[in-house]
Amino acid sequence: ATGRRPNLNIAVQDLRTILEPVDGSSIANVSWRVQYSIFDQLLRTDYNDNFRLNFALATSLKQIDATIHEIRLRDNVKFHDGSTMTADDVVFSLGPDRLRGENAPGAAVFANFLSSLADVQKINDRTVRLITRTEDPVFAQRLGAWGTQIISARARAGASSYDAWATKPIGTGPYKIGEVRNGDEITLVAHDEYWGGQPPFASIRFKRLPEIAARIAGLKSGDYDIVTDITPDHIAEIEGVNGLSIVGGEAMWFRFLTFAPLRTPILKDVDLRRALALAIDRGALADGLWDGRAKALTSWQLPIFGEINDPNRKGVSYDPAQVKELLAKSSYRGEEIPYPSVGTYYPMQLAENQALVEMWKAAGINVKLIMCENWTQVGDIGGINDTSGGAFYADPVSMLWQIIGPTNDLQSTGGWTNAEFNARGHELETTTDLAKRQAAFKRMQDIVEIEDPCITPLHSMPFIYGQQADVSWQPNPLPQMYLGPKMPPEPVA
C-alpha cells in the first residue's frame, strides 16, 4: 500500500537531530517542525480552526475537582514499534524521569508548558488522573500545546542511554523515524498502524539547505516538494513559476523587542522606553519589509483569546508627536543605546535591525546596532534585544506571561523585573475566575506598556513555504508542520 503514496521532500533551513520532543534543546522552531509528525499529545490543538482543542490520545477529559483531571485513553493506539499504548506509557511520559523531575531531560519543556502539573496517577489501563499544583485555567490547553507527547515506556527502558534514545524515540504519531543523517537529513516513514488513519505520504525527507537561494532553486528544479523559511521578497519569484505556489502567512508567532533597564542605565528612564516603543512604525515593517505578509502587532490582545480579550484596548502605536513629548520629558540626551543582535537568527532580522535603528534615528534616538556572534555576547551587552514568541494556546498565559515571565531570560538575567507584574502573572496563571483574570491581564499590560515598559511587540512573523502546487498541505500559523492524515474534529467539550 505504501508504494502508491508519494514521498515528500522538504528542504528546511536547519535541522536538529535530537528528536525527543521534551528534550531541552527541542524548544526550537526547527525541532517542533519535524517532531510534530512523529508524536501525538493527549489533546490536539487545531491551529487552523481557531485553536480549537480536539481529543487525540485522550478521548475524554473530566475535571474531578479544582486540581484533578481524569482522562481516558484512546484504545488500540500503536506505537511505532508495534506495541500498544497503555496508561503506563502516559504515566512514564509525564513522569519525573522524563518530564517533571528537576534533572529530567524534559525539565525545560515542563517549566515552559506544563508547569502546573504535580502528579500523574494510573487509575486503570485506560484511565489516568492528572493532578495540578493549583487551579489552572488553561490546563486543557496546555495538554494540547507541547510536552504531553506520549512515548513508549518500554522502548525507553530498552534504550542503551538517554542520548541514544533522544535521537530515535518511539512515539505514536503518523510517521516513525527512518534514516537520520546528523544535521543533514531526517527521513520519516509512514506509520501504517496509525490510529488516525493512513498517513498521506509514504515517507517525508527533511533536508537541511541553509541557503535560501538554493532552497528556491531546488524547489524550481523539482528536487523538493516543500521548502520552508521563504522570505516575502521571494514570494513573487516563486509564484511566477508554473506549478509552484506559496502557502502560509497567517501567523500566531510574533517578534518583540525587549529592553533591559537594569543592565543598561540609560534605559532606566521610563519615558525613553516608551518613546522607543512609540517611535517604531510597525506598519512600515509589516507592509514594507514583509510585503504585507506580516501583521503589525501593537498590543497583547489576540482575538483567539476569546473572553479575556479586550478589543477596546489601544496598545502602542507609531506616534512621532508623543515620542517628541516623551523625549523632552525624559532625561535622555542623545546617549548611545546599544542594540546587540546576531543578525541571522530570525528571518529578515538584520534588515529589520537596520530599519529600526533608522526609525529611532528619525525620532532623535541614537541606537547603535552591534553585531554579535553569539547569545552570550548579546546578553553581555544588554540594551535592546530581539526576541520572539507565539501563542501555543489561546490564552495570554502563553503569550505575555510565557515570554517575559520570571523564569525567562529578560528577568532571569536581571535585565528587568517587576514584582507586581510577576504577582499578577501568577494570578493569571492560577485562577479560573474570569473577572480576576481580566483584571490581572489588564494590569500586566499597563505595566509593560506604560508604567515600566520592558517589551514591545513588533509584528507577526509568518511562516512562508514554497511548494509544488500539487502538494496538498495546509500550514499552521505556528512553526509546527503537520503532515499526517486529515482527522475528523473531536472537539473537547
Partner: protein, 286 residues
C-alpha cells in the same frame, strides 16, 4: 632591417599596452571613488525607504532616482557601492599588503634559518593552516574587541601562511641557485640576499599570490562582519553587499551584480598590474 647606426644602447622598454592602461585607469577610478565617496553618493547610505525596496536599476525598469537600483531596505545601491569601495579598498589593499609582507617575511626567515627557528615558524604555519580562520577571528574578537585598524591587521593574518609557505619554498629553491650563494659569498648580509636578489626573483609567484589573496580578503571580510568584526552596519563594504545580495540572486540580481563586478574588475586590474610589474622585474623578457 634597420641600419646599424641606430643609437639605442638600452633595450627599448616595453611600451605600456592597452590592458595595463585600462587597469591603471580602473584602479585610479577606484581610488578616486574611495576618496570622493561622500561627494559622489546621491543618498546617505543608511537612508531607508521601505516603500521602494528592490527597485531595479535604470534600464531594467528603474528610474534615474536610483541609477543602480535599491536594496532590500530601499537604500540606494549606487551610494552604498561608493562607500563600499572606500571601505573595501582600505581593508583589502591594506590586508593584502600585510598578508603578503608578513607571509613573505616569515617564509624567508624560515628558509634562512635552519633548525629550531625554522621549526618554530613552520609550527606556526602549520597551526595557522589547520585553524579555520573563523576561530582566529573569534579569538581576536574576544581578546581585542573590534576596531577597524585591528580588523585590517586581523585580515592581514588571512592567507599569510600560504604566502609564507610559498615564499619559503621559493627562497629555498632560489638560495640553492648560484646567484644567491654568489651574493652571499660577496659578504652580503642575508637581508640583502633575500630582499635584493631572492625577492625579485620570487616576485612573479608572490605577485600572483597577492592577486589571489586580494579578492579572497574582500569576501572573507563580509563573513566576519556577521561575527561583529570589522565592517558593520550601518557601514558597508563590497563583501557585505555581495553577502546581502546572494539571497536576492534571482529576485534582485543588481544587488549582487554591482559589487561583484567591482570586485571582479578590480581583481582583474590588480592582476594585470601584477603581471605588468612582474614583466618589469624580469629583464629576460625585454
Amino acid at each position: 632591417m634597420k641600419t646599424a647606426t641606430v643609437e639605442t644602447n638600452r633595450p627599448s622598454p616595453r611600451t605600456v599596452d592597452l590592458p595595463t592602461l585600462l587597469a591603471v585607469g580602473w584602479v585610479l577610478l577606484m581610488l578616486f571613488t574611495a576618496l570622493a565617496a561622500p561627494l559622489m553618493a546621491p543618498y546617505e547610505i543608511t537612508s531607508i525607504d521601505l516603500r521602494h525596496r528592490l527597485t531595479p536599476p535604470v534600464g531594467f525598469g528603474g528610474t534615474m532616482l536610483h541609477a543602480l537600483g535599491t536594496d532590500d531596505l530601499g537604500r540606494d545601491v549606487a551610494s552604498r557601492l561608493f562607500y563600499s569601495i572606500r571601505t573595501s579598498l582600505l581593508v583589502a589593499f591594506g590586508a593584502t599588503a600585510i598578508s603578503v609582507l608578513v607571509g613573505t617575511g616569515i617564509g624567508f626567515i624560515a628558509a634562512y634559518f635552519r633548525g629550531l627557528v625554522e621549526h618554530a615558524l613552520l609550527l606556526m604555519i602549520d597551526v595557522q593552516a589547520s585553524l579555520p580562520f573563523l576561530i582566529v577571528a573569534l579569538a581576536m574578537l574576544a581578546c581585542f574587541g573590534n576596531s577597524l585598524t585591528l580588523f585590517v591587521a586581523l585580515m592581514g593574518l588571512y592567507g599569510w601562511e600560504r604566502n609564507a609557505r610559498l615564499a619559503r619554498g621559493l627562497a629555498i629553491t632560489a638560495s640553492a641557485q648560484g646567484y644567491a650563494s654568489a651574493t652571499r659569498q660577496l659578504g652580503a648580509h642575508p637581508l640583502r640576499v633575500y630582499l635584493r636578489h631572492i625577492l625579485p626573483n620570487s616576485a612573479a609567484t608572490l605577485l600572483v599570490a597577492a592577486t589571489v589573496t586580494f579578492p579572497e580578503i574582500v569576501l572573507v571580510e563580509s563573513g566576519l562582519s556577521f561575527l561583529g568584526l570589522g565592517v558593520q552596519p550601518p557601514m558597508t563594504s563590497l563583501g557585505v553587499m555581495v553577502a546581502a545580495g546572494r539571497e536576492y540572486i534571482t529576485r534582485a540580481s543588481w544587488m549582487l551584480l554591482a559589487p561583484s563586478l567591482v570586485i571582479v574588475i578590480t581583481a582583474v586590474a590588480v592582476s594585470v598590474l601584477g603581471d605588468w610589474l612582474r614583466d618589469k622585474l624580469d629583464p629576460t623578457l625585454k
